[in-house]
């Protein structure tokens, strides 16, 4: 039981695809009177189960829209699954494609504070680590710049640096490595390897096969919301590539 840092059991998630989204009261009142179905449901995740052990890094591959990000959001409790359960052991920090919930009107430093407090560390701990975060992200010149003036690569670097310094038990990474430049990618890989050595887990979503091969102990191929295969990265990548090739033909 305590061996796993994440255990996912039979998780399913449906989304509503609205044809005409009812965001106003008037629309929702008139809509409920003329009973026309205004949305269809989309099964984003269908009966997904897997475990991630402590110190293991787990890769997830799949086409766009196959439910990878939704799964990460469920793992980090941002979404609630419709069915099934997710158990996590220790803090889970998600670094999703857009950052760490940064506010465009706040400076890099205030954003670090805001996000890290939300992720569960105290103000004093952040004060100790803040220089490291800025230095790791290579943003010494921009520490007091508002986030809205950051490039997407800079914001991503800041997010990754912050997440790593929060030092969670599980790190969820969604297409993070690809955004940084080559030097930063190398730094990321080093940090992640160090992370694993210290018995922490990583869940990595990536479209780059070499990242998955290099970093992950096991991988999973998500096909339209359900698990196609879980196993060795090379095996999983093969069946993913075969599937993608079959689509092209």
């Amino acid at each position: 039981m305590s061996e796993n840092s994440i255990s996912v059991k039979n998780v399913s998630k449906k989304f509503r695809l609205y044809h005409e989204k009812r965001t106003t009261l008037y629309e929702s009142i008139t809509g409920s009177i003329n009973r026309k179905p205004h949305y269809e449901t989309l099964q984003v995740l269908d009966n997904v189960s897997f475990n991630v052990k402590k110190g293991e890094s787990f890769g997830i591959v799949g086409r766009n829209g196959s439910g990878k990000t939704t799964l990460l959001r469920i793992l980090s409790h941002i979404y609630q699954p419709d069915d099934g359960s997710v158990e996590t052991n220790g803090t889970v920090v998600p670094v999703l494609a857009l950052g760490l919930g940064f506010h465009p009107e706040l400076t890099a430093i205030t954003n670090i504070y805001q996000s890290s407090i939300l992720l569960g560390i105290t103000k004093n701990q952040i004060a100790e680590r803040i220089d490291k975060i800025i230095k790791f992200a290579d943003l010494e010149k921009f520490a007091d710049t508002k986030l809205k003036n950051f490039s997407s690569g800079m914001a991503m670097r800041l997010a990754f640096a912050t997440a790593v310094q929060v030092d969670p038990a599980v790190l969820l990474l969604d297409e993070v490595i690809a955004v940084g430049d080559l030097n930063f990618q190398k730094k990321c890989l080093d940090v992640m390897l160090d992370f694993k050595k210290r018995g922490k887990s990583i869940v990595l979503v990536s479209h780059n096969p070499s990242d998955v091969k290099q970093l992950c102990d096991r991988a999973m191929f998500l096909k339209d919301g359900s698990i196609d295969i879980i196993g060795k990265p090379s095996q999983v990548l093969d069946s993913y590539e075969n599937y993608m090739n079959s689509l092209q033909e």
């Binding site: 009261l25 008037y26 999703l96 009107e105 706040l106 205030t110 805001q114 996000s115």
Partner: protein
């Protein structure tokens, strides 16, 4: 349930953090910055004071104090609910990327408006000195009265914060209601100037009750009647219950509606 409480405790630092950032963002790009939190009520008061002391002569004794005490009480209600209204929808980036209890933005909005209230109470103090008004000791009852007001604002804040994500109209409707509420609350007139029928209806509003209580303890040195206290406490907690119910109902799906 216990885990919710644990979580709240763990993230308590964020309550204060949100409250401060709300203020910072509110006064961003302004030359005078936080000074506006003092200037805003001061200038608003100057306008109202000018209108009601020269254009419409007011017979109310110590009118400036009467006006200001009512105004800041209503402001507390207005600011808290308005900030809470957009507290979730403005943080869509944060909410879609990090998990934290969804009630925190609404709660912290109430703290933001509490900070503004304290500043405005200080302004009231200055006015009391200037108009040589000495309040009686009953003014200390402002503390429980504002605690009650806090619960009232919190109830509405919780409900509005989730409703505004789901229905964008809430923002406009609430703006109109606040405007109407300002005129239907005894801020620049006395409650007994109104026709009796209207009084009977309006005294059902908790904010009318709260403003009246504030007038009682600051200006007249009297305590509000037991009936009005009981009614206020009952209705305020009723509002909190309804607000919490709405919040619970919508909070789980909030991220998907962003």
């Amino acid at each position: 349930m216990t885990s919710i409480r644990e979580e709240m405790w763990k993230t308590k630092g964020i309550l204060f953090n949100f409250a401060i950032t709300d203020l910072k963002i509110r006064y961003k790009n302004s030359v005078l910055g936080v000074l506006w939190s003092i200037l805003e009520p001061l200038l608003m008061l100057a306008v109202l004071f000018f209108v009601f002391s020269t254009m419409f002569k007011s017979e109310i004794e110590y009118f400036p104090i009467y006006l200001l005490s009512g105004l800041i009480t209503y402001n507390f209600f207005k600011n808290g609910t308005t900030i809470a209204l957009s507290s979730l929808s403005n943080r869509s980036a944060l909410i879609t990327q990090i998990y934290f209890p969804r009630s925190i933005p609404a709660i912290s909005s109430c703290f933001t408006s509490s900070i503004m209230l304290i500043v405005e109470l200080a302004v009231l103090g200055v006015f009391m000195v200037y108009f040589q008004f000495t309040p009686s000791l009953t003014i200390l009852y402002l503390i429980p009265i504002y605690m009650l007001a806090f619960v009232f604002v919190l109830g509405i804040a919780l409900g509005l914060s989730v409703l505004n994500v789901k229905f964008k109209d809430v923002e406009f409707i609430w703006g109109i209601l606040l405007h109407a509420g300002f005129f239907l609350t005894p801020i620049f007139y006395q409650f007994d100037m109104l026709p009796e029928q209207m009084q009977n209806i309006l005294q059902l509003s908790p904010i009318v009750q709260i403003v009246e209580m504030v007038h009682h303890v600051t200006l007249y040195g009297t305590l509000p009647s037991l009936n009005s206290v009981l009614y206020s406490v009952g209705s305020v907690f009723g509002v909190l219950g309804v607000g919490y119910f709405i919040f619970r109902r919508y909070q789980a799906r909030i991220v998907e509606d962003m």
